[in-house]
């Protein structure tokens, strides 16, 4: 029986982001949470592994008390248990401290795991860094952007597309994958699953329970510091171009080559090759 750990994250529902109209700031505390979409793919991948070879699946998240919700959702979808890492001292973590905290929790609470699955990135931070850094912290092999995974014995065969290369790799277990997965379509919460999830216990650990020093976690331990956050929409300029066609095209490219030049450059080339 394999032991799978799926790392999930609660993110704000982007469609409902409440903005402060005066400052252009996101009022994050008002936003409704949801499970990060890529994490649903990671969970679904874990379910497909369980269907094929049998597995126990633990879902783990670090977040505020309200993150209990995504663990319940994970259980409703089919995870066997939920672990919440919750402590004010963990708040403000960057990917470095997030991965350290997750690693510590996994080492101490689920030490005999075979495979860790993460979503390839989150819809809020979009860093795609926690998975790779967690693998590094645990000193296990990690492969990112996995589309497809097959487990045989103590090896995982994974497929992915990275930078237009279709790659097949074999990874030793225990290991970690971040899931891009177009191969597994996430299921929905069933009504019976939902009811059952709210009958389960969620295990919560704080920093002390994990033996984590406050100096090394959350914003205190984070190497990166956020100076400020702003809405780019406030920077939107409405530049008007008039005149002859030649003049307009000229100014378009001279003004915005930095913005569109790189993308255009790339796609010009792709196009050339196609022909």
């Amino acid at each position: 029986m394999l032991r799978l750990v799926v790392c999930i994250k609660q993110v704000p529902q982007v469609s409902e982001l409440p903005w402060d109209p005066d400052t252009g700031r996101l009022q994050r505390e008002l936003a409704e949470g949801m499970m990060n979409p890529a994490c649903r793919f990671a969970l679904e991948t874990a379910f497909s592994i369980r269907e094929k070879v049998g597995a126990k699946i633990a879902a783990i998240t670090m977040g505020p008390p309200s993150a209990e919700e995504v663990l319940r959702e994970a259980i409703a979808l089919g995870a066997d248990k939920g672990i919440l890492l919750c402590d004010e001292k963990m708040a403000g973590a960057d990917t470095y401290t997030t991965s350290s905290t997750l690693a510590k929790a996994i080492q101490s609470k689920i030490p005999r795991f075979d495979l860790i699955l993460c979503g390839s990135s989150t819809s809020d931070g979009e860093t795609a860094q926690v998975g790779p850094q967690l693998a590094e912290e645990l000193d296990i092999p990690g492969v990112a952007y996995v589309d497809d995974i097959e487990i045989t014995g103590n090896k995982a065969r994974v497929r992915r597309v990275a930078d237009q290369f279709l790659e097949t790799m074999e990874m030793e277990l225990p290991g970690l994958v971040t899931i891009n997965a177009r191969s597994y379509i996430p299921r929905y919460v069933s009504m019976t699953g939902f009811q059952a999830a709210f009958a389960e216990d969620i295990t919560t650990y704080d920093a002390a329970a994990l033996g984590l020093s406050p100096e090394w976690i959350g914003s205190k331990g984070a190497p990166t510091k956020v100076l400020r956050v702003y809405s780019p929409r406030m920077d939107k300029k409405n530049i008007v171009l008039t005149g002859t066609t030649k003049k307009i095209i000229g100014s378009l490219f001279s003004l915005f080559d930095d913005r569109i030049g790189g993308i255009i450059g790339k796609d010009l080339k792709t196009d050339k090759k196609a022909k």
Partner: protein
């Protein structure tokens, strides 16, 4: 009293909304326009146990309380009222009475397939000349060696075309229909149970509402719920609980119409300003939001009464009466805010308008709700 929704309620709403928006949303407009029942989506709903919302776990159900049930119906109806109607009729008017009033043998025989959604349920009450006046039932149940022979015509039967198990209300006694009233569980494949054509209705068009003909339809005695003479009481009790589903359905439509209006008012510009900057529109939106909240509170109060085992008939009738009228008011305002677009079949608002009207008629008209409520009111001391 806790007016703050619990984590469980909020999560349930999100979970159902995610499914409804992703799976029903893209087709909701088309299934209404083409008046088709979306089997593909229904198959998914079956596998997610939407057809066993309140049935006990032993029968494979989700064993939800009424508040959770109302939230599910509300969220499905917010995207497609026709499918919300399918679910509420199945769960409240077919599964619920068997569960509540059926024998153990009947439960074992009928519920597993119904809870799985393999057999979609319905309740056949309305007849060509009998609607609100249930006691005037004309469908006859004649006795014949361990069976009853049903003859009659039932119209406006929700889920009619697709039903697998129907509850049929009839009477053994033409002279005194009330005294002879009976309620049967009839399987669709019973000879003489004939499903007619789909009704061409103003709203709820994706629900296969149909006429059902009973022609010498032999139903075994063991399919009767309760005893002869119980029929009308069982039907009315069932309708009491069913009102919660209908009120939730109406609230879902209203919510959809309100959200569409809010989006539109913020985006649409007239006289170089968004509609939402005009005080008239602001007032409309304020009234709509207040109206929906009022209806929802009445609905949740009725749920709470039912769940805690208190009498709830008056509360449920108030919720149904208020929410259906509220849905109609909200849909009307939504069309008005949308102007020409609101009146166009290209957009969803006119669908909300047509669907909302059905909630004032289905499962007891608003006039009947007032009778139920007035009985409760008049029994109080002046």
């Amino acid at each position: 009293m806790d007016y703050n929704p619990s984590l469980k309620s909020k999560s349930l709403r999100k979970a159902v909304r995610m499914f409804a928006e992703a799976e029903i949303g893209p087709i909701a407009h088309d299934i209404d326009r083409d008046a088709v029942f979306p089997w593909d989506v229904v198959v998914k709903m079956k596998s997610l146990n939407f057809f066993g919302l309140q049935a006990p776990k032993t029968f494979g159900g989700a064993e939800m309380d009424s508040l959770s049930y109302a939230i599910v119906i509300e969220e499905i109806s917010r995207v497609s009222a026709a499918l919300g109607l399918c679910l509420t009729v199945h769960n409240s008017l077919a599964v619920y009475p068997i569960l509540r009033y059926g024998t153990d043998e009947q439960k074992k025989r009928f519920l597993p397939d119904m809870v799985k959604g393999e057999k979609i349920g319905t309740l056949c009450m309305t007849e060509t000349s009998v609607g609100s006046d249930a006691a005037g039932v004309e469908t006859h149940a004649g006795q014949e060696a361990g069976a009853y022979v049903l003859n009659g015509t039932k119209i406006f039967i929700t889920n009619g075309l697709v039903c697998g198990t129907a509850l049929v209300f009839a009477t053994t006694d033409y002279q005194n229909p009330r005294k002879g009233s009976v309620l049967f569980i009839v399987e669709r494949d019973t000879p003489g149970f004939i499903v007619g054509e789909k009704e061409d209705l103003c709203g709820m068009r994706a629900n296969p509402i149909a006429t059902i003909f009973l022609e010498n339809c032999h139903v075994p005695e063991k399919n009767m719920i309760g005893h002869p003479g119980d029929g009308i009481r069982l039907c009315l009790k069932t309708m009491d609980a069913g009102r919660i589903g209908l009120a939730a359905l109406a609230t879902g439509i209203a919510q959809a119409a309100f959200e569409a209006s809010l989006r539109y008012a913020k985006d649409r510009k007239q006289f170089q300003k968004p509609l939402s900057s005009f005080q008239t529109i602001q007032n409309y939106l304020a009234d709509m939001a207040t109206d929906i909240d009022a209806g929802r509170l009445l609905l949740y109060r009725a749920c709470e009464a039912l769940d805690s085992g208190r009498p709830f008939a008056g509360e449920a009738a108030m919720a149904k009466l208020y929410c259906s009228a509220m849905a109609m008011r909200i849909a009307d305002k939504a069309v008005q805010i949308h102007g020409g677009y609101g009146y166009s079949k290209e957009y969803d608002v006119e669908r909300y308008f047509r669907d909302a009207k059905a909630t004032e008629i289905l499962e007891g008209t608003s006039e009947i709700q007032r009778i139920v409520i007035s009985r409760a009111v008049l029994s109080q001391r002046a």
